[in-house]
Subunit: 342 residues, 2 copies
DNA sequence: CTGTTAGCGCGTTCAA
DNA sequence: TTGAACGCGCTAACAG
């Protein structure tokens, strides 16, 4: 079913059909109606590939995330798709873990599709990707990456703000030995979080011996392993700050396994505030990083790049805050409880 | 960057470039190498839209799910994408809830993209979608839908198998008043599960009064509400079977809120076996429905439709079983414990 | 306001 | 084995 058949059936030229379908003002309402009638009757759908080919714009945004199975990302995907629907863009999702080979394949697919922009949300391994895309003139949105390239827009995430709140909250509860599970070491975001934790601890005069710093990977399993490791230590931490809710869930699960009560015996703080966090047992105190906000920022940045005429005063810098959300996985440090009870 | 520029640079015709890139045997190795050199040098990527236009095949499969934020689906998406990468297909994801308007928009986008097939995994609201797609000659994969249309392939999910195991497991533990949270009433899958539950209960002579049947929507919130409702009843159930792990999580969360111990005071069984299930506190006993298996089946069905020559003896029917996975959210019914203790 | 026409980038004939 | 030429379905000039 093509524009030609519609044209013949409606007894107009293909140009008129094209105009009618694209709602060009100048077309005679009578003809337009005739065209639409036929379109509906025969069930015609314009061919996006042909449109993309001739117009040079595909109306596709690519979205690269590291792990679609981490509940943090589906919320972003969801929001991006909503916005896509609203603005008539499609979202081409790519979840390709950290495998550099897969990443490269994903990049190839994306470039071949001539997407109008790509949001890279792997939170720390985007450097090579960004190079590839900018070389092909594909507008890019990334997190926490300074770049002078005009094609690159980025958002700064203030991890430290939330982490400081978390650390000070724990300290206020009397916790002194606070442990930290970071993200995968090769992720820049993980390094930033880790450094922020160290800084926030030392700010208030708290020590962080190396064994209380464990490198995780944002999975529940790593949380379990980390706590198992700490419990085997002569002095186990009384509180754990996790760089993701997933690892926090793992910590809580391991605590259950070991018969440790959260929060009485162990305080746990997560990071991300995935929806699940408030349904944990106990509900997880966590540092919120708004998925919606990230998605909104990403989309509007991509839109600015793809349609610069819409919004002349386009920013190239955006910012996102993080904030502690108090729930019920933290409590007074056990030693403090003892002090207060006699 | 187009095939013409490559041709000029490599001093061959565009036809030769095309053949070289597509690895056609007959092309002179010397020329092929020359072409590839240039391709690499200038960073040429063939335009997928042009290819799709001329070849009539887009190498895209669409995947429609109801809720990407329900952890059940990301696993499927993940697997589909892996397979896509392997077979050089892209997966166009669509998460459009139940809103019929969004569904229609999604269908439109998919058809306009001329996808080579679409897997509809909304588990029960696919009827109108299937009609739309088959009318456009788009091969479709659905769950639990009989259709004589050759373009439609489907898989039968044996919900009852796992549900029977769950019911009998609970009965064996001495539970008599077993409640059930179903999925959204407009989903066929939900109706099937509900009917299966009723049948499995009556099989073993157990009653199911209407107030023990609550219609949910596969969210954690509905699980919380359901338990709150049952607890307000004169006699609350001692066990709950949920039609999804998400609602089971909600039930456990509400039990915590009410000070009910799972499993001592209340046994809970989920459905799906999302990865999270084993990380719940306590780990959730649930009916497994393999996400990987579903994805594999969907993909191979789509591949059979898109490339019929690959696999001449293509089936049109597939089957998936469900199975109870025992963990720690179920225990002897409280009354049974009392009988045994004195 | 409408129709004719020239490509968009590529795969695929058909001759050479 | 190679290259010239056609057309996939559509938009956007330009002419009428």
């Amino acid at each position: 079913m093509t524009i030609h058949e519609i044209a013949k059936e409606a007894k107009v030229s293909i140009a008129t059909v094209s105009r009618a379908i694209n709602r060009v003002r100048s077309v005679d309402p009578v003809l337009a109606r005739r065209v639409w009638k036929v379109v509906e009757k025969v069930g015609y759908y314009p061919n996006t590939h042909a449109r993309a080919l001739v117009s040079g714009r595909s109306r596709i945004f690519a979205l690269i995330v590291s792990e679609i199975t981490n509940p943090f990302f589906p919320e972003i995907v969801q929001r991006m798709m909503e916005l896509g629907l609203e603005h008539n863009y499609e979202i081409l999702l790519n979840a390709c873990g950290q495998d550099p080979h897969l990443l490269e394949t994903a990049a190839r697919q994306i470039i071949q599709r001539r997407v109008d922009g790509v949001a890279i949300l792997t939170l720390g391994t985007e450097d090579t990707l960004v190079k590839i895309f900018t070389r092909q003139q594909v507008p890019v949105f990334v997190v926490d990456m300074a770049s002078s390239e005009p094609l690159v827009k980025s958002v700064h995430i203030d991890y430290e703000h939330g982490i400081r709140q978390a650390v000070q909250h724990l300290a206020a509860l009397g916790h002194v030995s606070i442990a930290f599970i970071s993200g995968p070491t090769h992720l820049k975001s993980a390094a930033i979080q880790k450094a922020a934790f160290a800084r926030c601890m030392s700010e208030i005069g708290l020590e962080v011996p190396a064994e209380r710093l464990v490198d995780g990977d944002h999975t529940m399993t790593c949380g379990m392993k980390a706590l198992a490791f700490w419990v085997a230590l002569p002095a186990r931490p009384s509180a754990v700050l996790c760089s993701s809710d997933m690892s926090a869930i793992g910590v809580m699960r391991q605590a259950f396994e070991l018969g440790l009560n959260v929060p009485a015996d162990l305080s746990v703080v997560g990071f991300d505030d995935i929806r699940l966090a408030q349904f944990m047992i106990p509900p997880l105190t966590t540092v919120q990083m708004s998925q919606t906000e990230i998605a909104d920022t990403a989309f509007s940045a991509l839109l600015d790049s793809a349609e610069p005429w819409r919004n002349p005063q386009r920013r190239r810098k955006y910012g996102i805050k993080t904030n502690l959300v108090l729930r019920r996985s933290t409590a007074l440090a056990p030693c403090r409880v003892r002090e207060l009870q006699p």
